[in-house]
Symmetry: C2
Subunit: 335 residues, 2 copies
C-alpha cells in the first residue's frame, strides 16, 4: 500500500534535482541520454505515473468533460452517453457523469459542483422538472463562467447555448405521412414528456398535421405519470377505433406496445406503432417496433466534437445549433 511515487522522491533516490527528473521523463533534449535512461529506468521500476491532479492544476485543464443527463435507465440517454464516452476518449478526455433523475434540484447541484473547475466543458440534457417549473437561472449562472456548455436533445429558447438535437417537426410529419399513406386515419399521439421541449415540439407537429388533414382523427394522450398514461392508452385502444399509435418517447412507446399486447391486438392487421425508440430497445422485444432513428451515436459524437472545439477555440458569440436528420425505420409493428 505504498503511496504513488513522485518526481521528488525519484530525484532524491537518484541524487539529482527534481527538474532533471521531470525533463528526463518528458524526453527533453536538454538532458543527456545517459541521465534520461537512468531516470526513466528507475521511474519505470518504481511504477511512476504523473499525478493527473497536479497536471490539471498546472495546466488549468482537467481533460475532463462533465455530462449531465436526466436518467441513465432511459436507453436513449444510455446510448448517447456511451457514445459521448467513446468519442471523448478518442480526444483524450474523460467524462464525469451526473444523473439528475429528472429533478431540478439535482440538476442545480450538478451544475454547481461541475462549475468549480472540475471539468473543461459540459454536455447537458435538462431535466423534465426544469421545463415544468421553467427555471433556467442555474443555466444562466454558468453562462458567466468560462466553462463551455452544450445542450443536447432538449433544446429550448430559454437556453442560449450551443446545441445538438433532432428534427422534431420533420420526423413527426414523416411518420404521419407514412401512416397516412398506409391508410391510417385514426391516430393517437402518446407522450410521457408533455412538458419537455421536444415533447411540445412533437405535439405541435402532430397538431399541425391534423389541422392540415381534417380527414384524420387525431387524439393526444399525455401524462408524465406512467400508470396514468398506461390506463389512458388502455382505454383508448380498448374502446375507440385506433389505426396507429405514435409515441414521442421511449416510455410512451413501450407502454403502447405493452397495451397492444395486453389487448391481444395484432400489428399490421389491426394497428400500427411507431415510436422514438432505438435499436437497443428493439432488440429486447418481439415484434420489433417501427421507430424514428435519432442516431444517438451521431448526437454523442457531434456533442463531443462541438464541446472540444469550444474548449480549444474558446467561446464565440454566435450560437451553433446542430440539427440531426432522423430517419424512419419500418419494422413488423407497422404495415
Amino acid at each position: 500500500m505504498n503511496k504513488p511515487i513522485t518526481i521528488k522522491e525519484i530525484a532524491r533516490d537518484l541524487g539529482v534535482s527534481f527538474s532533471t527528473v521531470s525533463k528526463s521523463l518528458n524526453d527533453s533534449s536538454e538532458i543527456s541520454e545517459k541521465t534520461k535512461k537512468k531516470v526513466k529506468e528507475y521511474a519505470a521500476l518504481r511504477g511512476y505515473t504523473p499525478n493527473q491532479i497536479a497536471l490539471s492544476l498546472k495546466n488549468s485543464a482537467t481533460y475532463t468533460i462533465g455530462v449531465i443527463i436526466p436518467d441513465i435507465q432511459n436507453s436513449f440517454f444510455a446510448s448517447v452517453l456511451k457514445n459521448i464516452e467513446i468519442h471523448a476518449k478518442s480526444y483524450g478526455y474523460r467524462i464525469v457523469t451526473f444523473f439528475t433523475n429528472e429533478t431540478l434540484k439535482e440538476e442545480e447541484e450538478s451544475l454547481k459542483i461541475l462549475s468549480k473547475g472540475l471539468v473543461d466543458g459540459l454536455i447537458v440534457c435538462p431535466s423534465d422538472e426544469t421545463f415544468k417549473k421553467k427555471k433556467f437561472d442555474h443555466f444562466n449562472a454558468i453562462k458567466n463562467m468560462n466553462t463551455p456548455v452544450l445542450i443536447f436533445d432538449r433544446v429550448d429558447d430559454n437556453l442560449e447555448f450551443d446545441s445538438v438535437s433532432v428534427d422534431d417537426y420533420k420526423s413527426i410529419i414523416s411518420a404521419l405521412d407514412y401512416l397516412y399513406e398506409k391508410g391510417a386515419r385514426d391516430i393517437v399521439l402518446a407522450s410521457a414528456i408533455p412538458d419537455v421541449s421536444v415533447g411540445k415540439k412533437r405535439k405541435e407537429a402532430f397538431e399541425k398535421f391534423i389541422t392540415d388533414n381534417p380527414e384524420v382523427n387525431g387524439t393526444i394522450l399525455e401524462a408524465d405519470d406512467n400508470t396514468v398514461l398506461k390506463s389512458m392508452l388502455y382505454e383508448a385502444l380498448d374502446t375507440k377505433k385506433v389505426d396507429a399509435v405514435l409515441g414521442v418517447d421511449i416510455e410512451s412507446t413501450s407502454l403502447a406496445n405493452a397495451v397492444v399486447s395486453m389487448l391481444g391486438k395484432t400489428y399490421k392487421e389491426e394497428i400500427s406503432l411507431i415510436g422514438y425508440v432505438n435499436k437497443q430497445f428493439n432488440r429486447l422485444i418481439h415484434p420489433r417496433v417501427s421507430y424514428i432513428n435519432q442516431y444517438p451515436e451521431k448526437i454523442g459524437q457531434i456533442a463531443v466534437d462541438m464541446i472540444v472545439d469550444k474548449i480549444k477555440i474558446g467561446n464565440s458569440k454566435l450560437l451553433n445549433k446542430e440539427v440531426i436528420e432522423t430517419t424512419l425505420a419500418i419494422k413488423d409493428t407497422s404495415r
Copy 2:
C-alpha cells in the same frame, strides 16, 4: 467569459493578504467579524467558488470514485451505476465512469488512467474478454498502488479484492426448485456469458441440479454471440419439448422471450421463462418475465459503502466479500 475568480484576486481587490481571504471564507476565528463580512460579501458578489482541483492537490483527495463497467446499455449495469451515483453523492463523492464495452483493452486503459491519482477509490466489474483471456495482470498492478478497489458482480478467485456479488448458486437452485415443483422436467439453461465468472457459477449450479435430479432433462445453450444463441434457442424451442427456459443474463433472457414470441408459444400453458433481469427491463415488455431479483440498488449501495470505508479507514489485509441474497419474482411468464 471571465475566468473564475480566485482568492488571490479577491485579496488584491480588497487590499488584504490572500491568507486573510482564505481564513475569512473558512470562517476562521482568527479573523475579525468585520473583515470576514467584507470578504464574504465580495466573494459572493464575484461568485467565488473554491477550485476543486487545487483542493484535491492540497488534500491529496479527489472526492471522486472511479467506476468501470462493461456496458452501459446493459440495464443491470445501468441500474447499479445509477445507484452507485446516488449513494456516492450522499457521501459527497462524485463518480467518473469508464465503459469497457466488454473489452480487455479498454479495461486496461481505464485502470491505468484512473490509477493516476484521479480517484480515491475504484468500483469495477471486469469485462467478458478479461475472463475469456484470463488476463488479470492489470488488476494485480493496481493492487500495489494505494487506490482501494472493489469488484462487483463478476467476482473471481483470480481477483483478490473486496467484492459485492449475488448468491449465484442458491439463486439458480431456487429457480429450478420452483420450476420443478410446477412440473417442469425439460429445462433449458441459456447463457450469453459462458466465460464470465457468474455465468460459469450459474451453469455449475444448473449441472449440479441435473445430476441431483436425474429425471430432469437439462440442456445448456450458450454462446456469447447473440445471433448464434438466438438460433440455438429457436431450434431447441421449435423442435424439442421444452417446459422452461432459465436465462442467466439479460441478453439470453430477452432472446428467449423473443423466440417464444416468434414461435407463437404461450407462457403458463406451454412454457415458462425465468431470467436474471430486472424491473426496468420488465417494464418494457408484456407479459412480464419472472426474474431473479439481484437488487441492483443494494449492490450499488453496498459497493459505495465498502469503498468509502476503505478510502477512510485504509486497506486492511482481510478480504471482505459481501454476498447479496436474491429473491425470485414470479410473473405472467411462469406458471
